[in-house]
């Protein structure tokens, strides 16, 4: 926001310093912001026209480096007595402790036989192991070991001032180990049920409480599996006990309860499209993606001119967003986990189109990110002409997840970190949007201007892209709508929808690939044989904030379901009458691949200018993850799944951002690419976040859960929950339409992402343009559906998720489901890691 925004920036900062708990949370790590120390009459730091447009970096949770004094001061008095007072935790300690001990309080519910005396403390010696099989013994011992370390952690942390956080970390660890153990037996139903029954009967109360805590945590991630595990005991206990237990397990507790209010999330509507690898190259896919985003941007422009559009992207999605911003007019770009480093070195060479960006951009990167380095980032920022800000999250990785050690040592949870990041985004957007209002009128011109640049790169474009581009060029929506009747209807309905309504609509379109979705039987089977890329396209969701519309929406949805067989429900969210900007933080997959965290948002409202926020991110978690799973079964399954935990907690901001009082923050949870764990985590998020939407979320979560036992797909295929089936239907349905897309999973992190992304775009192309995209993409269709019946959305968030794959699998991926499957071939050039210059 440069100089113009300077003053407000200062105010914002001052406000937050005084008010935000979360700011305090990280304040001691923030380095002194020299800009804010300027005298008020001093010239702004950026006053010079040639001054760099890079704003000072903001550090979140970055521990300042200690200066090592070289000499030993022998005369400095040593105080061996005074205990440094530990900072008071910022969350409500009492409340946190109370939720923390929930399981301990209610542990008795779990007992199948409540009348029997609790097992003695030396229960271990009394366990009668006769008749146990080797597998049973092994499994039991594993669980026992996990519980024992959890016990140690509990005891060791007892009385610590931030005990709830430490407990949370410990429980997550225990849950991970339990999950690992269960995954090692492929979640064999009999074995797992036996285990649960045995544990409940034999464990001493404290150990049982620890076990329940682990179950509670897992239940949030993999509800179906856990439910299946509990079935047998439930039948024994009877309804009352089962109900109590299920209540207890309903959602995992979080130490920050109360401080970070959990807003109701918008449940994402997921569409899963299978793409089969077939002859398209990565570059083309990329172009497709960019094309798709561009056309979406154009579409929104045409439907809602004068509304600011903000592109938000994760990882490669961020890159796509940036490239799009070069070509189309958008108000701002937010890059989460920007992949700066490529195989060819950092971005920002003279010919890098990103340097031409004029859109204000915010980079949020992890200090320990592999794809980015804070110092290289600074260099890059210097070269960008656009105003840009950088937020460095201390100790965070590519996905802005902080490490366990950091959590432990600093008493943080991922939800707190996510919240701080949101605050930063809100700050950034507040500045940009309020200033951007003035430019609204000029949008079209800008757009045109941007378009003029296109020809330069035209040579590189392939035909398909041209198609999409052509489609996107026309200003009128109608022109964009090609042949497909259904699609055109949808779209036109959008355009025709009345703009008069004051209601806010938030649209989150997340495209994520979920390989986990492959959970459908055939898919899984195929995968076993050859782990190829199955790209599922996960999908779009449009939350509408007005209650009245909810009903209508659902109906629309139903219609859609019939038409497209989409599995996911449309979330309706509570009414809020004000326009908002939503910031969705979708944190995705873990190392192993999976978990995605959705997020939340608190957003400032742009005064007067109804902002449209488009979040672009693309997740291509799935394929790799799955591969990873299949190849390295246990580890990946367990890891991926569990790791999601902290990240998955969604915190929504209740604080009204900034000066604009009208702001209301709401949470948009987009469940991102759920790969096996991903889906689970996403669902857990939803679960945790919203009670009211529980039924819906449980449905969605059902899907992911199945695939999660990666190692033993067969088992999962046995029973498909209904939603699953519907999903399967979708997948196959779409896959027919969509041809194959070459997928490269072989690529190291980045490479995979592009591979995943093509789905949406490819669809676009193969289906013959936008209209078809709309029809085949439930997300789009939904938008249109909703829009038709409803008011004009004031805010539209488009989220494309990008999933960095940390697993480098060498096995090629292709997807098996498509009928029109062609031999999949795809070697992705490693150079594809680098996003080619935007067309």
């Amino acid at each position: 926001m440069a100089h113009r925004g300077g003053e407000r920036d200062f105010q914002t900062s001052a406000r937050r310093m005084g008010t935000s708990l979360l700011f305090q949370l990280s304040v001691h790590e923030r380095e002194l912001d020299l800009v804010f120390l300027d005298h008020s009459y001093a010239k702004p730091w950026s006053a010079h026209p040639d001054a760099s447009s890079a704003r000072p970096t903001r550090m979140l949770f970055v521990t300042p480096r200690r200066q090592h004094e070289s000499t030993i001061e022998s005369d400095v008095p040593i105080d061996v007595e005074t205990v440094t007072s530990t900072p008071v935790p910022l969350y409500d300690n009492q409340k946190a402790r109370s939720v923390m001990n929930e399981c301990e309080r209610h542990v008795i519910f779990a007992r199948t036989d409540a009348d029997a005396p609790p097992p003695p403390e030396d229960w271990e010696e009394h366990v009668n192991r006769t008749g146990w099989t080797m597998a049973q013994n092994k499994l039991f011992n594993k669980i026992l070991k996990a519980l024992q370390s959890d016990r140690l952690a509990r005891l060791a942390n007892e009385g610590a001032c931030n005990e709830p956080v430490l407990r949370r970390v410990a429980v997550d660890k225990c849950a991970r180990r339990v999950r690992q153990a269960l995954a090692s037996v492929s979640w064999d139903t009999k074995l797992v049920q036996w285990l649960h029954t045995t544990l409940v009967e034999t464990l001493s109360l404290p150990m049982l409480a620890a076990y329940l805590d682990a179950l509670q945590t897992l239940k949030g991630k993999i509800p179906t599996l856990i439910d299946r595990m509990l079935v047998s005991s439930n039948t024994k206990t009877g309804a009352a006990g089962a109900e109590a237990l299920s209540l207890l397990l309903k959602r995992p507790w979080d130490p920050a309860v109360g401080v970070l209010s959990h807003n109701k999330p918008v449940v994402p509507v997921a569409t899963h499209l299978l793409n089969n690898g077939s002859g398209v190259g990565v570059l083309q896919c990329l172009e497709h993606m960019i094309g798709a985003v561009r056309s979406k941007v154009l579409e929104i422009h045409s439907h809602f001119p004068h509304k600011p559009i903000i592109l938000i992207g994760w990882n490669t999605g961020a890159l796509v967003a940036c490239h799009v911003s070069v070509m189309e007019y958008v108000t701002a770009v937010v890059c989460l986990g920007f992949p700066l480093l490529t195989v060819d070195g950092p971005r920002g060479d003279v010919d890098d189109p990103l340097l031409d960006m004029k859109t204000p951009v915010l980079f949020v990167i992890g200090q320990n990110s592999l794809q980015c380095h804070p110092e290289a980032m600074e260099d890059f920022r210097e070269k960008i002409r656009a105003e840009n800000s950088l937020v460095v999250v201390g100790g965070a990785d590519d996905n802005l997840r902080i490490s366990k050690a950091k959590k432990k040592s600093e008493g943080l949870t991922q939800s707190m970190v996510d919240r701080c990041i949101q605050d930063e985004i809100v700050d950034f957007l507040t500045g940009v949007l309020t200033r951007a209002e003035g430019h609204v009128g000029s949008e079209p011109r800008d757009q045109d201007a941007e378009k003029k640049k296109k020809p330069r790169d035209a040579a590189r474009r392939d035909l398909a892209f041209e198609v999409s581009e052509r489609g996107s060029r026309p200003a009128s929506p109608a022109a964009k709508l090609p042949a497909s009747p259904s699609g055109s209807e949808d779209l036109s309905s959008v355009s025709s929808s009345p703009t008069s309504s004051p209601k806010t609509k938030v649209t989150t379109v997340a495209s994520a690939q979920k390989s986990s979705q492959m959970g459908s039987t055939q898919l899984l089977k195929r995968h076993v044989q050859r782990t190829e890329a199955v790209l599922t396209h996960k999908q779009a969701q449009v939350p509408v904030s007005s209650e009245q519309t909810e009903e209508a929406e659902k109906e629309d949805l139903r219609v859609q379901l019939k038409r497209h067989h989409p599995s996911s429900p449309l979330p309706g969210s509570k009414a809020s009458k004000r326009p908002k900007i939503k910031v969705s933080l979708i944190s995705q997959g873990d190392t192993a691949g999976g978990p995605c965290t959705p997020s939340q948002g608190g957003a400032p409202e742009a005064a007067g200018g109804k902002p449209i926020t488009m979040t672009l991110g693309q997740a291509s978690t799935g394929a790799k993850e799955l591969t990873g799973l299949l190849t390295t079964t246990k580890s990946s399954a367990a890891e991926g799944g569990v790791s999601a935990s902290p990240a998955s907690s969604v915190v929504s901001s209740s604080t009204a951002p900034s000066a604009l009082h009208t702001l209301q923050s709401r949470l948009v949870a987009t469940s991102p690419g759920s790969s096996l764990p991903g889906a689970a985590s996403a669902s857990s998020l939803l679960q945790g976040l919203s009670f009211s939407l529980q039924d819906i979320s449980s449905k969605t979560s059902g899907l992911p859960a199945n695939p999660s036992p990666g190692p033993a797909p067969q088992a999962t295929s046995v029973k498909l929950p209904t939603p699953m089936q519907s999903l399967g239907a979708i997948t196959t349905g779409t896959s027919t339409i969509v041809r194959t897309i070459p997928v490269a999973t072989t690529l190291s992190s980045l490479g995979a992402t592009p591979g995943g992304k093509p789905t949406a775009i490819h669809q676009l192309l193969t289906n013959g343009g936008l209209a078809k995209l709309a029809s085949s993409l439930p997300g789009l269709a939904q938008i249109s559906n909703q829009a038709s019946g409803l008011k004009v959305p004031t805010t539209i968030t488009l989220t494309l998720r990008g999933q960095p794959s940390r697993i480098t699998t060498l096995s090629p991926m292709g997807s098996g489901a498509a009928p029109s499957e062609e031999p999949t071939s795809q070697a992705l050039p490693s150079s594809s890691q680098r996003l080619p210059p935007a067309p």
């Binding site: 061996v80 205990v83 440094t84 403390e121 370390s149 140690l152 005891l155």
Partner: protein, 364 residues
């Protein structure tokens, strides 16, 4: 690489010889059955440097500890003395297989705890002063109820002599170090071993929790000190000096910021473990064979107190590192010295030629 050849009297913690080769072999037990001398008033406190300064003028210059009581009761070498956290009692463990609880202010023999089959090397109090844990050569630890004098639990699992033990601050965990080169963390309530930490390559000579209970420090004859995360049992840090003489004792400072390390080269060092460097070195005493306890004295001036193999108790100024007083009176190696939590009282205990515990008090 040095290997340590130990002729060890378990109770007395003798490290007799230190050879280049060989292994920990021939751990012989020396009998210390010596006649008991009734030590009455023969001992006198001797001020090490010049005359004892006037306390009113010279703040925290010199303590003036004087012998108040000699506690007789053990029939063999005493191995450890500890004051209870509430200041009421003093517990002493001995090679005669019993623990005696004494009144901390009057030296009265309150209770004798019997149960171990072999010599006891260490004893420790719980934070509420209600329980004791003892480490014995019979490879077990025992948890005692002080009030009733009964053994509540016997912790079995070590495969060799248990040499040192401690409670964590909430006293729900017990840490023990053993000649089997491992440390074990036990749940106090159930007596179950929750975790075994094995990273040392020689007997573990001392273990201690920091004041918040989040860290454990351990010292071993292998010459290194390790710092462990109590919650996970992971080793967080290893402190090694240039040469690595066997570590005979370690403990955290009362605030948990520093670590006092005793090594068998007549040296005590105060480390800032977070920065991994040595801040202070205390020398002048003799300590080459035994695992001698040392202590922080913070009730009056800030001192470091340690026993010595020249039968004296040494007191250093924590800041200046100078010896401010030597307490003379024991007739054998002073194996243990402990400081009272609130009063200026030092308890010291000596080996088999002496077998007594002495209480020293200072009006300063």
């Amino acid at each position: 690489m040095f290997f340590i050849f130990i002729l060890l009297d378990r109770r007395a913690k003798i490290l007799a010889a230190w050879f280049r080769t060989g292994h920990l072999a021939s751990l012989q037990t020396w009998s210390f059955r010596v006649m008991t001398t009734k030590e009455s008033g023969g001992a006198k406190a001797e001020s090490a440097l010049s005359s004892s300064a006037n306390p009113s003028n010279c703040v925290s210059e010199k303590p003036n500890y004087a012998l108040k009581f000699t506690l007789v009761g053990h029939t063999e070498a005493v191995s450890s003395v500890k004051f209870s956290p509430n200041g009421e009692w003093l517990a002493s463990s001995s090679a005669d297989k019993v623990i005696i609880i004494w009144g901390a202010y009057d030296g009265k023999n309150e209770k004798t705890l019997k149960g171990h089959n072999l010599e006891i090397s260490d004893v420790a109090w719980s934070s509420d002063s209600g329980r004791l844990v003892s480490a014995s050569d019979d490879k077990t630890l025992k948890i005692w109820d002080v009030r009733s004098g009964k053994c509540l639990k016997t912790l079995t699992g070590h495969s060799d002599y248990v040499f040192c033990c401690n409670f964590n601050p909430p006293s729900n965990l017990i840490i023990s170090g053993s000649f089997d080169e491992s440390m074990k963390i036990w749940e106090e309530k159930t007596g179950k071993c929750l975790k075994t930490l094995s990273a040392h390559s020689d007997p573990v000579s001392a273990v201690h929790f920091n004041c918040s209970g989040s860290l454990i420090v351990s010292g071993s004859y292998d010459g290194v000190c390790r710092i462990w995360d109590a919650a996970s049992g992971q080793c967080l840090k290893t402190l090694v000096d240039d040469d690595n003489p066997p570590v005979s004792f370690v403990k955290f400072s009362p605030n948990g910021k520093y670590i006092l390390i005793a090594t068998l080269d007549n040296t005590l060092k105060l480390w800032d473990y977070s920065r991994g460097r040595c801040l202070k070195t205390y020398t002048g005493h003799k300590n080459e064979k035994y695992c001698i306890f040392a202590s922080f004295s913070v009730t009056g001036g800030k001192w470091i107190v340690s026993g010595s193999e020249d039968n004296l108790v040494y007191i250093w100024n924590l800041q200046t590192k100078e010896i401010v007083q030597k307490l003379q009176g024991h007739t054998d190696v002073v194996i243990s010295a402990a400081c009272h939590p609130t009063e200026n009282i030092i308890a010291s205990a000596a080996l088999g030629n002496d077998k007594t515990v002495k209480l020293w008090m200072s009006n300063y």
